[in-house]
C-alpha cells in the first residue's frame, strides 16, 4: 500500500500582495533600496524599523501614491493583473478606492477634518459609484460601528474628535468597501498608551472577523508583536531580516534585529 500525502495548504496559496525589487529616492536620499515583500491572504505582515528607514515610503508605494524608480507590484485579485505601478492615474485611483484601504499616522492625510465623520466614510462609496443616500448612510454607520466608533458622534467632524477617534474614522473609511488589503502606517503612534491598546484591540478583532490581509508599519515592536504573523525588519531603506513573528522575537539573527529586540525587553 502506498501512502499519498497532500501538499500543505500554504504552499498552494499564492501571495495576495507581491512587491519585487522596489527602489525609490528623493534627491540624494535613497528612501527604499531594492526591497521585496509579500503577504499571503489573511496574513498580517509587520514592518518594523527605526524612523527614516523607509517604512512609510514603502507603504505609500503599496497604496500606489508613490511610484518607485524600479520594481514591480502585483495583487492576486480577480480583475487585477500586471504590474500595478504601470497603471494610469485613472485605473490606479479606482483600484485604490475599491481594493485597498489605508490608515495614516497623521489623520489629516486621510480625512477631511471639517466634513462629518460619516461623510468621510461615505466618500469611499461615492467614489465607487454608490448613489443612494440611505445606502451610504447605512454603510458608513456599519463601518464606523465595526471600527468601534461611538455612533452618537456619527456626524461630528474629525477636527472635534480625539486622536483615537480620528484613527477609528480613518479605519472605518479604509474598511468601508471591504478592501482586500489594509495598509496601516503607525496607526497608534502618538496615542495614549491606554487608547493605543484599545485601537490595537479593534484591529485585532477586525482581522479575526474579516480575515483581511494587512500590512502594518510601526517603529514600535510591541505593536508589531500584538498583530503581525510575519515580520520584516528595515534599516536605511533595506530589508535586514524577515521571518515569522515568533522567530524574529525569540531568535533574531541580524545584529540590528537583536539590538531592537533586546532594547524592547
Amino acid at each position: 500500500m502506498t501512502l499519498t500525502l497532500d501538499a500543505p495548504r500554504i504552499v498552494e496559496t499564492r501571495p495576495l500582495l507581491e512587491v519585487h525589487g522596489v527602489s525609490k529616492s528623493y534627491g540624494t536620499v535613497q528612501a527604499v533600496r531594492n526591497v521585496s515583500a509579500h503577504a499571503y491572504p489573511g496574513e498580517v505582515l509587520g514592518i518594523v524599523g527605526e524612523s527614516g528607514s523607509g517604512k512609510s515610503t514603502l507603504l505609500r508605494m503599496m497604496n500606489l501614491e508613490e511610484i518607485p524608480e524600479t520594481g514591480s507590484y502585483t495583487l492576486d485579485l480577480p480583475d487585477v493583473s500586471g504590474n500595478l505601478f504601470e497603471l494610469d492615474r485613472f485605473a490606479r485611483r479606482m483600484l485604490c478606492a475599491t481594493k485597498i484601504g489605508i490608515v495614516y499616522q497623521n489623520p489629516h492625510l486621510g480625512l477631511l477634518m471639517k466634513h462629518s465623520s460619516s461623510g468621510n466614510v461615505a466618500e469611499r462609496l461615492l467614489v465607487a459609484g454608490e448613489r443612494s443616500f440611505a445606502t451610504l448612510r447605512q454603510a458608513a454607520t456599519e463601518a464606523l460601528e465595526a471600527s468601534e466608533f461611538p455612533l452618537d458622534r456619527l456626524d461630528a467632524p474629525p477636527i472635534e474628535l480625539s486622536g483615537g477617534m480620528q484613527q477609528r474614522v480613518q479605519l472605518a473609511k479604509a474598511i468601508a468597501l471591504e478592501p482586500a488589503l489594509l495598509l496601516l502606517d503607525e496607526p497608534t503612534t502618538g496615542l495614549d498608551v491606554s487608547v493605543q491598546a484599545l485601537v490595537l484591540d479593534t484591529l485585532k478583532r477586525l482581522q479575526q472577523d474579516r480575515q483581511i490581509t494587512m500590512v502594518i508599519v510601526s517603529h514600535d515592536l510591541g505593536v508589531i508583536r500584538t498583530l503581525a504573523d510575519r515580520v520584516m525588519v528595515m534599516r536605511r531603506g533595506e530589508v535586514v531580516e524577515t521571518g515569522l513573528a515568533d522567530q524574529i522575537f525569540q531568535d533574531p539573527q541580524h545584529p540590528y534585529t537583536q539590538q531592537l529586540v533586546h532594547a524592547k525587553l
Binding site: R93, H115, S116, G119, A122, L126, S132, F133, L136, D155
Partner: protein, 304 residues
C-alpha cells in the same frame, strides 16, 4: 472717456465691436465646447467696454454670434427692462446693427443672467448665459489644476460628498442656484446662477445654450438634445422651488417662477420673474390677442 470714443457704429462689413481675430477665437472655442458638452474650454477673453463680472463673457459670445439681421433679447433676473439688460441690449444693437426684441418667441439670440425664459425655446434659437463662477469643483477643490484633472477623470466624489453633507446637516440639499449638473453623462457643470426651477429646461432642450465666463475665461455649452441631469441621490428627489402654486399680483399668471416682493405689513406679494411673460399675460387679458407660446412648466409642474 465716453463710450463713443471706444466704439464705432456698425458697418456692413465690420460689426459687433470685436475684431475678426477675437471672433475667430470665440467661434473656435464655441465649436470645441459644443463638441464636448459641459466641458470648460479656456479662451482668450477680450476687453469690452464693461466691467468684468457684469456679463462680459456672455457679451463676447453674443457679439460673435450676431449679425445685422439678428433679433436680440437680453434679460437680467428675468427682466428685459433692468438697467443692466437695457444697456447690454442697446450696446449690441449699436455696434452690430441688430434688431432688439423683448418677445422670447421672436428672438434669435437671448443673452441672460439668472433666468431661462418660461416659454420653450426652439431649434433656431441660441441662449447665452453669463456665468460668474464656471468651476463647479471650486467649493471642494480650490486648486484649479487639480480640479481640471478631476474633470478629466470624472472624479466627482467630492461633489456628491458635498450634497451628502448638506443633507446630514440640514436635512435637505441646500444648493439653491447654480445647481451642479451632469452634462451628457460625462462632465459636471455649474449652469450659471439660474434657479433650480430652470435647470430641467436645459435637459434635452431643442435650443443651443452657451455659457461664458469673461473674468475666468471659460466657455462651455449644452448642445441641443443633450442630457442635463442635476446631481441627486437616487432616493432624494430633485426639487425645484415651490413656486408652482404662486400667483403674480400684477398679471394674475400662476405656476411660474416668482420674485418675492416684501410688503409693508410683513407679508409677501409675488410677481412673475419672467417679466415679458407677465406683460404678454396682461395683454391677453386686455383682449390684445394671444401672443404667449408654449411653456416648459404647465400648471406649475414640469412634465417629464
Amino acid at each position: 472717456m465716453s463710450l463713443s470714443t471706444l466704439t464705432k457704429p456698425w458697418e456692413a462689413m465690420s460689426y459687433g465691436f470685436l475684431d475678426g481675430s477675437a471672433k475667430r477665437e470665440l467661434r473656435r472655442k464655441m465649436l470645441k465646447s459644443v463638441a464636448v458638452p459641459g466641458c470648460q474650454m479656456p479662451y482668450a477673453s477680450r476687453e469690452v467696454p464693461m466691467a468684468r463680472g457684469w456679463g462680459t463673457g456672455g457679451l463676447q459670445v453674443s457679439l460673435t454670434l450676431v449679425n445685422p439681421q439678428t433679433r436680440v433679447k437680453v434679460i437680467d433676473q428675468g427682466a428685459d427692462d433692468s438697467v443692466n439688460a437695457a444697456s447690454i441690449r442697446r450696446f449690441i444693437a449699436r455696434v452690430a446693427g441688430t434688431h432688439t426684441t423683448m418677445d422670447t418667441l421672436e428672438a434669435d439670440l437671448i443673452q441672460s443672467r439668472h433666468r431661462i425664459p418660461e416659454e420653450i425655446l426652439r431649434e433656431d434659437q441660441v441662449l447665452v448665459l453669463q456665468v460668474p463662477n464656471p468651476e463647479p469643483l471650486r467649493p471642494v477643490q480650490p486648486n484649479m489644476s487639480i480640479a481640471r484633472q478631476m474633470h478629466a477623470d470624472a472624479d466627482y466624489g467630492r461633489m456628491w460628498l458635498q450634497l451628502y453633507e448638506q443633507i446630514v446637516r440640514s436635512g435637505r440639499v441646500m444648493q439653491g442656484a447654480s445647481y451642479p449638473s451632469l452634462v451628457n453623462g460625462r462632465h459636471v457643470m455649474t449652469p450659471s446662477p439660474i434657479p433650480r426651477w430652470d435647470v430641467p429646461k436645459l435637459h434635452m432642450a431643442k435650443h443651443l445654450t452657451i455659457l461664458s465666463a469673461g473674468r475666468e475665461k471659460r466657455i462651455f455649452a449644452v448642445p441641443p438634445f443633450t442630457r442635463v441631469e442635476p446631481l441627486v441621490f437616487s432616493d432624494v428627489p430633485y426639487k425645484v422651488e415651490g413656486h408652482g402654486h404662486l400667483t403674480c399680483t400684477r398679471s394674475g399668471t400662476t405656476g411660474f417662477f416668482m420674485n418675492e416682493i416684501p410688503q409693508d405689513d410683513g407679508s409677501s406679494a409675488f410677481e412673475v420673474s419672467d417679466s415679458e411673460w407677465g406683460v404678454k399675460t396682461i395683454r391677453a387679458h386686455d383682449g390684445e390677442g394671444e401672443s404667449r407660446g408654449e411653456t416648459w412648466y404647465k400648471d406649475g409642474e414640469m412634465p417629464q
